[in-house]
């Protein structure tokens, strides 16, 4: 079979098998077929502990990568990696350019095609999506997705500058808003529209601290009482210190492989059943509603549909709770509660490990595990990978977990990536 100059397919006698128009369609079908045929699995995943690190960027990344490599059950060599996507805001600006090349250079992946992915706090959620797409497209077989952030080596004033660079600079920031402020506006409006209350947020804080207490990788490993969480220092009215995640240093790394080589590395893969993503207007005031995140709704709808599941099928979810109100709204946008019922969901104790239909933030979430911006998305995937393989600390294990999701949001909801993971491949 040969292809003629006009794109038509010809047989060995020169006769036209299909016209150029038909061959275009055939090519499109082949691309779609191949995309549907290639499944992607997580074969390894690791992270640093989140918190205040003495290590710098290179040291943290090397540690996370080393743990990910070591978690692969057999025969992994980092020189096999075809592509790498590393999420980072490059907080502090110390290595704003070519961050990813520096990191792969220091983790046995020298020479690999690599790039930094930046989508604010959703940077590595999108790095994971890019890595998944690289394999789905057939261009790569083994791809690393990771993330990193070093946040605690800056002066308080410089840190506040960087904490505000991912919101709407021209309007929101000059109205005095950083993310605690934008999420506080959402919270107060949610209280007003849906009869929710700060007590509902306190339940979320208490739950996530309880989950994170047993997590050796968590930044804030301490349980808090309802009374203590309800009376914290006011950061952005109505959000208190116990509604806000900490600023953390940390790195996380996930290794993905195409289905045809997965068994070379493990007999116990976790399948990435789908990837969904969406975006929304950057500024809160430009959105029709501030009590829902359209980007989350789009991303989850797309991911659930591609995986052939509904929210009721999800056993555990790593949810982007940069502030407790973010988890409450996500509970609704991800379909675990009806619109406006996120407060009731929290009040009723839903989301607690092994007590409700779904466990929200078994790792402790951003609230307790920590939030090293660029590392958070793939850090969520590390938790889901371990939960689905039954390899977390026994007291933290979500029982009979078959399907888990990650939900990674950029800023106040301008970007969002949702991934569905399963013990089984898509049917």
């Amino acid at each position: 079979m040969v292809v003629a100059g006009n794109g038509a397919f010809l047989d060995s006698t020169g006769a036209t098998v299909c016209s150029s128009v038909e061959s275009d369609r055939l090519n499109q079908m082949l691309v779609l077929l191949r995309r549907d045929m290639v499944d992607v699995a997580v074969i390894g995943a690791g992270q640093t502990k989140y918190g205040n690190h003495q290590l710098g960027l290179k040291g943290m990344w090397a540690e996370a990568a080393e743990k990910a490599f070591a978690s692969v059950d057999k025969n992994f060599d980092p020189r096999q990696v075809d592509e790498a996507f590393i999420g980072s805001v490059a907080f502090g600006g110390g290595q704003l350019g070519n961050t990813a090349a520096l990191l792969t250079e220091h983790s046995g992946m020298e020479g690999v095609a690599v790039r930094r992915v930046e989508n604010a706090c959703a940077s590595s959620g999108f790095a994971l999506r890019d890595a998944w797409m690289a394999i789905k497209s057939g261009q790569a077989d083994i791809v690393v997705a990771g993330g990193i952030e070093k946040m605690n080596d800056l002066s308080p004033e410089r840190k506040r500058f960087w904490l505000g660079v991912s919101g709407d600079t021209e309007w929101e920031r000059l109205a005095g808003l950083t993310f605690p402020g934008t999420y506080a506006l959402m919270a107060r409006r949610h209280f007003h529209e849906h009869q929710s209350s700060h007590d509902d947020l306190v339940h979320i804080s208490v739950k996530n601290h309880m989950h994170g207490f047993e997590n050796e990788q968590a930044h804030l490993r301490k349980q808090v009482s309802f009374e203590k969480a309800a009376s914290g220092f006011m950061v952005a009215d109505p959000l208190t210190l116990y509604d806000c995640c900490p600023t953390s240093d940390g790195a996380s790394c996930v290794i993905l492989a195409a289905d045809h080589i997965v068994r070379q590395f493990t007999d116990d893969p976790v399948w990435v059943r789908s990837s969904g993503a969406g975006s929304d207007r950057l500024a809160l005031h430009d959105r029709p509603s501030i009590t829902q995140l359209v980007a989350t709704q789009k991303a989850s709808k797309s991911a659930y549909s591609a995986a052939g599941i509904t929210a009721r099928d999800v056993d555990l979810a790593e949810v982007h709770d940069c502030f407790t109100i973010a988890e409450m709204i996500a509970t609704e946008d991800l379909g675990f509660a009806e619109s406006g019922q996120g407060g009731l969901f929290a009040r009723n104790g839903e989301g607690i490990r092994n007590e409700g239909s779904v466990c929200l933030n078994p790792s402790g979430g951003l609230k307790s595990k920590g939030h090293p911006l660029g590392a958070t998305g793939t850090g969520q995937a590390v938790e889901v990978f371990k939960q689905l393989r039954g390899s977390v600390e026994s007291e933290r294990q979500v029982r009979d977990a078959e399907i888990g999701i990650t939900h990674n949001v950029g800023g106040s909801g301008a970007t969002c990536a949702v991934h569905v993971f399963g013990r089984d491949r898509n049917e």
């Binding site: 004033e157 109205a175 402020g181 409006r189 950061v235 009215d237 005031h285 501030i290």
Partner: protein
């Protein structure tokens, strides 16, 4: 005897066609500017008042203490200081910088002005006054390197009319503010051709602690005990977020009606950025 009117946070008295503007704050027996005011913000308020009274004019002479560009972006009133090609014969109005925090708007610059002491003044806390002055002085000095968001001068001026006078776009039956380049279908939108009414309703609000406020407010937020922001909906439909004007005296509530006054926001590279701040309508 002239009657005192409160207007956008300032005290105004009319006498023989001239307008006295005075800050309501008193320190050591003299009027002083409040935490986010200066002669530019009060000049804008005075011009807006005269326009609201039907005294329309398009040009004015300004003292050097007033930022002519901000006056133009806020009121569309030009000045020889900003526009050298302005026909001087068309400049009938003068703004005269009085002693302390007072200004006079007049159609003559060679008269002695007699005004009664305005009513409605209030004492400003001594520490607040001194600390805010010191903070602004430090922030405005060329040596100060702000860690604030980098809203460059060109970006600031590009959005100036929308920021300072609520200039908005009308397209397909909708009012758009702040200005957008394209609509959701990719259609290029026309430039601003209208102004939002000076009226909005609070839909949400917050008060950020000094520790949570953006770094461009790091010198002043601790003095004020944080910064207050309201999210409002304008009567025409668009929403916006605004700091609260002189925010030491107001606790917002959802449903409150507000209007807006030009105030200082922050300074960077020696340039004070001005913007609108929300003022509660108390009646």
């Amino acid at each position: 005897m002239s009657e005192t009117t409160e207007w956008k946070g300032y005290l105004l008295s009319l006498s023989k066609g001239s307008l006295l503007l005075q800050s309501p704050y008193i320190h050591d027996g003299s009027p002083v500017y409040g935490p986010d005011s200066d002669s530019t913000t009060m000049a804008v308020a005075g011009i807006q008042f005269l326009h609201a009274q039907g005294q329309k004019f398009t040009a004015i002479r300004l003292p050097l203490s007033v930022d002519a560009q901000v006056v133009y972006m806020s009121t569309s009133v030009d000045s020889p200081q900003r526009n050298e090609e302005l026909d001087e014969d068309n400049v009938d109005w003068h703004l005269i910088d009085g002693e302390e925090a007072t200004l006079v708007l007049s159609q003559s610059d060679d008269e002695q002005y007699e005004f009664d002491e305005p009513s409605g003044t209030e004492l400003i806390d001594d520490d607040l006054f001194k600390d805010m002055n010191a903070a602004w002085e430090h922030e405005c000095s060329p040596q100060h390197v702000s860690q604030g968001a980098y809203v460059s001068q060109s970006q600031y001026y590009e959005g100036g009319a929308a920021r300072l006078s609520l200039a908005s776009q009308n397209f397909a039956g909708k009012t758009i503010w702040p200005p957008r380049q394209m609509d959701a279908s990719g259609t290029r939108l026309p430039p601003e051709d209208a102004f939002l009414a000076d009226a909005a309703t609070v839909e949400s609000w917050t008060k950020l602690s000094a520790a949570g406020a953006p770094s461009e407010f790091s010198l002043r937020a601790p003095i004020l005990g944080g910064v207050q922001t309201v999210l409002v909906k304008f009567e025409e439909g668009p929403r916006g977020v605004f700091l609260v004007c002189d925010d030491v005296n107001y606790s917002p509530r959802i449903g409150d009606k507000v209007h807006f006054g030009v105030r200082r926001i922050y300074a960077q590279e020696g340039l004070i950025r001005y913007g609108l701040k929300a003022i509660p309508r108390l009646n």
